[in-house]
């Protein structure tokens, strides 16, 4: 794999929340134009990993290269330029509640370009067409349904035609039909715009449908990062229990158990 083909290259990422270690020695790569799904149960550290990929936190150690630039070393100005090539759709949409849907989608254009008002409006309408929200630009975010909010957030994320798109839990809280439509949309975006797309999810079905490759996280470590077929075929116990939805059956250590119960009781 040629280094210049890599859209994302994470090496030995270690992060802490307070004194608690959240991510431990994470390394994975994503090529240009592929859909990388980051999968894992609740508390596996996948949201933390996403926040680090977005440059919202400074890691304890390790490096994160996006489009060939190490964002842990980047100056504020260089990061500002890089952000024009990144789009993010947050789990809850994170649309600005004081603005209409149209103004939300236009905001990145307004901040990063000097286009005139009409051009911006046309461009934002084009993206709303892509996510099947044409005609909704004058509504406020509070007037939209859950699925519409996610699609509007997606429209805002792709309005600058980014080379990297991050999507946090696209199917969380949506009915199966709407979430299948979102999956379809993600595939279309990759094919039509050649974006590298990182999707964070815990939905197996959706992950297998859209992913080119899957990275499985568990308790802050990577279990594997490979193609869909390889993940399906894996004989790793934790991956299998994630795939088969079997509950964790870890043996309890009696001493540790007692220690947890009696901790900080004086």
């Amino acid at each position: 794999m040629n280094a210049s083909d890599l859209a994302i290259d994470v090496k030995n990422l270690v992060t802490h929340y307070g004194t608690r270690k959240i991510l431990d020695g994470i390394s994975f790569q994503a090529r240009q134009g592929e859909i990388m799904v980051i999968m894992g149960g609740s508390g596996s550290g996948k949201s933390t990993l996403l926040r680090h990929l977005l440059g919202l936190h400074q890691p304890t150690s390790g490096s994160i290269s996006l489009l060939g630039k190490d964002i842990t070393q980047l100056s504020a100005d260089a990061m500002y330029d890089l952000r024009k090539n990144m789009g993010v759709a947050f789990q809850g949409g994170a649309l600005f509640n004081s603005m209409t849907v149209g103004e939300n989608v236009e905001l990145p254009l307004r901040e990063h370009t000097r286009l005139d008002e009409n051009t911006m409006r046309i461009m934002s309408r084009m993206k709303l067409e892509v996510v099947h929200l044409a005609g909704f630009e004058n509504l406020m975010p509070s007037e939209l349904s859950g699925g519409m909010i996610k699609r509007a957030a997606l429209a805002r994320a792709i309005v600058m035609d980014p080379r990297l798109l991050f999507f946090d839990e696209p199917s969380a809280g949506l009915d199966p039909v709407v979430s299948a439509e979102l999956d379809e949309l993600i595939l279309i975006l990759r094919d039509a715009m050649n974006m590298t797309i990182v999707v964070v999810t815990h939905e197996l079905e959706s992950a297998f449908k859209i992913a080119d490759r899957i990275t499985v996280l568990d308790q802050g470590r990577i279990l594997m990062s490979d193609t869909v077929a390889a993940v399906r075929a894996s004989d790793n116990e934790r991956i299998q229990s994630l795939l088969n939805r079997t509950p964790r059956n870890e043996a309890i250590n009696p001493d540790e158990y007692m220690e947890r119960l009696t901790r900080e009781i004086f």
Partner: protein, 266 residues
Amino acid sequence: MPDPLTSFVALVGQRSLQAVREVGYHAALLVEAFYWLLFGRWRRQPVRLSAVFKEAVGVGVNAIPIVALASFAVGMMLAIQGIYTLRTFGAEGQVVLGISLSVTREFAPLITGIFVAGRSGSAIAARIGTMQISQEIDALRVIGINPVRYLVAPLLAAMLLTLPALTILSDLIALFGGALYCAGELSLPMGIFFDRSFEVLVADDVIHGVLKSFIFAVIITLIGTANGFNVSAGAEGVGQATTRSVVLGCIGIILADMVFTFLMSR
């Protein structure tokens, strides 16, 4: 079992650390807000005039009725108390001097500051706090919009513009309230009241009050925004932040007023 003295000392230490950290956070916020106001244009992130005016309407123009009503009442109250007190010396005529000086140097800036802190301090904290928990602040950052530049700087500019203006308005209305009472109680024509009032007042008195209002503007903005940014625990956190920003804002204003008056009157 930890002995009570040790835990008391530890508590004092933690609280002090917390307080120092908070003061540092406010100072950093102030410096950054001024930085974006002055140099944002060269960093390709200008503070937009339209945003400043929008905030100015919200925190300034819309506060006119309540500030006017309060100032009128304070002016009248000062006249009532002044005449009552001065009557013991048979010096009711000096009431104009008392009202004029205390209104311009003390009451107008203080009343304006406290009302704006109550009205806007809580609104600012609630708005930014809600944006924080719905990931809108993160969304701003990943779009490449500095939250301080976008949310704090326009607000600071608007406060610095409108609070002094409101203070001068409050000066006039409080004097009017005082004049109205004197006209009834002392049969002192209002024209004469204002003539005498402008005779005793020098520019310094009014400037003294206006300078205070600049300080109050900074205090209200910083306490409101800092409490908003530090919200982490959902709806309850937003509630706490709004309460805190009003209480701390009012206390901050009164303490700053005391220090400023002490330093300037020596």
